[in-house]
């Protein structure tokens, strides 16, 4: 670990080294994001460990068909949160990850406190229905999951026969169940975030949602062991703990998540600012301790070997994983040149990466050089929330000329984009009448573009500037917006971008070449997801919590060393 008492970064240097939004907020780079130690899953498990949380399965009423309910109480120092899991016997033809599905293999609620029998009964009539049911302010999270039938059946068969599952089969899929939605913040009657935003353990972004996912992971193993026991009786065995740890929770994430980054600019800014500050602090360190270098080299080796478990049939991503393996090879060589033993070690290595590696590689280096510096950066994990209950006030006393100047400065990329061209407006984002699912349409071929959601912020800002140029420059913005309220959204975004550096994606999300999965990956990397497996340009499979400790072992294990699998568990790539 870096000795931060004697090796503190200079604050001015940190500011100088912050990467500019024009570099960081491009979709291609956002689409190459990796988890870091500030990612939300990482922060949750650090807290669970340091505060000595106890998790206990207090209810298990699941029958021989695998139908029933389980309750997991997670007891922290101040409060208890309970996962209520409803297991279902789902006919195969009903199994779909799309939001249009109506039944799932399992459904979940995270309850604020300890549920009574009456709560469990009330939720039994609502949680399995998901969007068609109603929750109450006592529930914080609503989720559902489907089995990986292939792996689930394999594991049941093996355990029932008294054998452990095949490790290669396990690694090929990586999870027993995948969640297809994890809802929070007031959706379908759940508690508003405001209720728990001030709690230390729940106030960070997506803390309750991802606590629920960690508990769901334990449930997926319990249910597979239960089915093995039903099938094999006394012959059945439990899963080996080291093997079990390789399992994460899968997740299918579709377009619905992409608008989130555009619609939560202050939150996006908080996330990116934290990560970029962590990177800049590390780059600003004048020297590197021997132990820190050793740790870094170990992590690079683990990250390299761990690529063996990043499976994707997607051609583009498979090529990128392959290039990343090449990047790791170069990185190992570069790290041995003595660069880390000289002054300005991490900055030199970063600049080398920037000049020599692919985007995947550079962003992996960002994560890897931050990792050994827990004391230097972990405070930033507590600065990633944003209060979004207050509206961002527009300063209407500014002059129209002043706002136009801000817009040209903050949205240079948009000023240079020709929004009159066919390709730059090829797409439109909309909400479908059916199940209210966010979708992406082809503007020049499909109906409905007049109902598009306002995600093309760049286009709107360019239109705002044209509007501002048509009136006297000394007019007040308030007067202008009163006469032209269609520009309020863009005006607010321009002023927000002027006070917060990373609020906006610096690319056109209406363009024919835009890849929605770039937005999904950025958000999921902040969650702490890994092994991105795109299924098209607009939805992606991931795994969450692979290699992390389970609730029943976290007390006796390092809770924060799972982002790259340990070397003895990975197979070196050929």
């Amino acid at each position: 670990m870096a000795d931060v008492r004697h090796n503190r970064p200079d604050q001015n240097r940190v500011q100088e080294l912050m990467r500019p939004a024009d570099q960081v907020m491009r979709l291609a780079r956002m689409g190459a994001s990796h988890q870091t130690r500030l990612s939300f899953m990482r922060a949750i498990l650090r807290r669970v460990k340091s505060e000595g949380w106890q998790v206990e399965r207090t209810v298990w009423n699941v029958d021989d068909k695998g139908v029933g309910v389980g309750v997991y109480e997670a007891r922290g120092p101040e409060r208890t949160y309970s996962l209520i899991a409803y297991a279902n016997d789902l006919p195969p033809e009903k199994r779909s990850d799309r939001v249009i599905a109506t039944e799932w293999d399992a459904s979940f609620a995270l309850f604020d406190g300890v549920p009574t029998e009456a709560d469990i009964e009330r939720l039994r009539n609502n949680v399995p229905k998901q969007e068609a049911g109603r929750c109450s302010a006592s529930e914080l999270v609503l989720s559902r999951a489907n089995r990986s039938v292939r792996l689930f059946d394999h594991v049941v068969d093996r355990l029932a026969a008294g054998q452990q599952p095949d490790r290669a089969e396990l690694d090929k899929v990586g999870y027993l169940m995948r969640t297809t939605a994890v809802y929070g913040n007031g959706k379908f009657g759940l508690s508003d975030r405001a209720k728990y935003a001030a709690r230390a353990e729940a106030g960070g972004p997506f803390r309750v949602e991802l606590l629920a996912v960690w508990l769901i992971r334990a449930f997926t193993v319990d249910v597979v062991e239960h089915m093995a026991w039903v099938k094999g009786g006394d012959k059945a065995v439990r899963m080996d703990k080291a093997l079990r740890r390789r399992l994460g929770v899968g997740n299918s994430t579709g377009l619905g998540m992409a608008p989130f980054l555009v619609n939560h600019p202050a939150l996006l800014n908080a996330w990116i600012t934290a990560r970029e500050t962590a990177l800049a602090r590390v780059r600003a360190l004048p020297s590197a301790a021997v132990a820190t270098i050793a740790r870094f080299e170990e992590l690079v080796a683990r990250a390299h070997a761990g690529l063996e478990r990043w499976h994707t049939p997607d051609e583009r991503q498979a090529r990128r994983v392959c290039e990343l393996a090449g990047d790791f090879g170069k990185l190992k060589v570069q790290a041995k040149t003595g660069v880390l033993q000289q002054a300005d070690p991490w900055n030199s290595l970063y600049l080398w990466a920037q000049a020599n590696l692919t985007l995947e590689g550079v962003e992996a280096v960002v994560s890897l050089i931050i990792e050994p510096h827990s004391e230097l950066v972990d405070d930033l994990a507590g600065q990633m929330a944003a209060d979004e209950t207050e509206i961002f006030l527009i300063d209407g006393r500014m002059s129209v000329g002043g706002l136009a100047a801000q817009a040209r400065e903050q949205f240079k990329w948009a000023m240079d984009t020709d929004f009159a061209s066919h390709d730059e407006t090829a797409r439109f984002w909309y909400v479908s009448e059916e199940k209210l699912e966010p979708r992406l349409g082809e503007r020049h071929e499909e109906d409905g573009a007049e109902l598009e959601q306002r995600l093309g912020i760049g286009r709107d800002v360019k239109a705002l500037v044209e509007g501002l140029e048509s009136v006297p420059g000394n007019m007040l913005v308030a007067e202008f917006l009163l006469a032209h309220p269609q520009h309020r959204l863009a005006a607010r975004r321009v002023q927000l971008a002027s006070s917060l550096p990373y609020t906006e994606i610096h690319d056109n999300v209406l363009s024919a070449t835009m890849m929605p999965i770039d937005m999904l990956r950025c958000k999921l990397a902040f969650f702490g997801a890994s092994r991105f497996d795109p299924k098209s340009d607009r939805w992606v499979r991931i795994t969450m919590y692979s290699d992390a400790p389970f609730p029943d072992e976290i007390a006796g294990m390092d809770a924060d060393d799972w982002a790259w699998p340990p070397l003895d568990m990975a197979v070196s790539p050929a």
Binding site: L255, E433, E437, A478, P485, H487
Partner: protein
């Protein structure tokens, strides 16, 4: 119906957009509706009444104009969201203003509150006093139309600040079903009807989900 504030805000925003308000203004309508509901005031009911009488009307007709003396002028009842947004943009009130005619004046409260911590609003049937996040009401402030609504900055004494009746309470909130359905009908106009092509391509499926 029992609802979270997030549900109220999202629905109110979509409803305002469905009634023809530009999205930026619709967001402010959603925010104001949720702020009132959190205080136990009928934001959703008032917004629905506002949207019904101003459905698809050009914002220029619903916005104030100003005489050379700075006085607010109106050709008909004004929209409280447009007026409120303007007051907020101007950073509050330096001097009292009188709105000649205003729909659902209570919808102004969140905007005045955010821009001007101590303020009073009154018209012939009601008095509203605002002190930061707290509100005191007298008379019948839930009217859907009022004339000569005066809004002014005030200095409150201790006695006045002791009589506040409304401040934000923990959610959820209860909104009458018919009001929620009314807002849903407006919100529905913002959705694009599904086609087979959009079902298949719009969400990017087409590959099997099972493995």
């Amino acid at each position: 119906m029992i609802l979270s504030l997030n549900e109220v805000e999202v629905m109110a925003t979509k409803a305002a957009a469905g009634a023809g308000r530009p999205w930026g203004l619709a967001q402010e309508a959603g925010w104001a509706t949720a702020v009132l509901e959190a205080m136990g005031l009928p934001g959703a009911t008032l917004l629905l009444a506002l949207l019904r009488v101003t459905d698809r009307i050009d914002c220029n007709i619903l916005a104030p104009h100003f005489g050379s003396d700075g006085r607010w002028r109106a050709n008909g009842p004004l929209c409280p969201i447009l007026c409120g947004a303007y007051i907020q943009d101007m950073g509050g009130l330096m001097t009292p203003i009188t709105v000649p005619s205003l729909h659902a004046p209570m919808l102004l409260i969140p905007f005045v509150q955010a821009a001007c911590p101590d303020a009073a609003m009154d018209w012939d049937r009601a008095d509203i006093t605002i002190h930061h996040s707290q509100v005191a009401l007298r008379g019948d402030p839930t009217t859907t139309m009022a004339r000569h609504v005066t809004i002014r900055p005030v200095q409150l004494d201790d006695f006045q600040t002791s009589v506040f009746t409304h401040s934000a309470q923990p959610s959820p909130v209860d909104i009458p079903d018919e009001m929620w359905e009314g807002l849903s009908a407006f919100a529905h106009r913002t959705y694009v009807p599904a086609s087979e092509a959009s079902r298949l391509n719009g969400a990017g499926a087409g590959l099997t989900d099972n493995d």
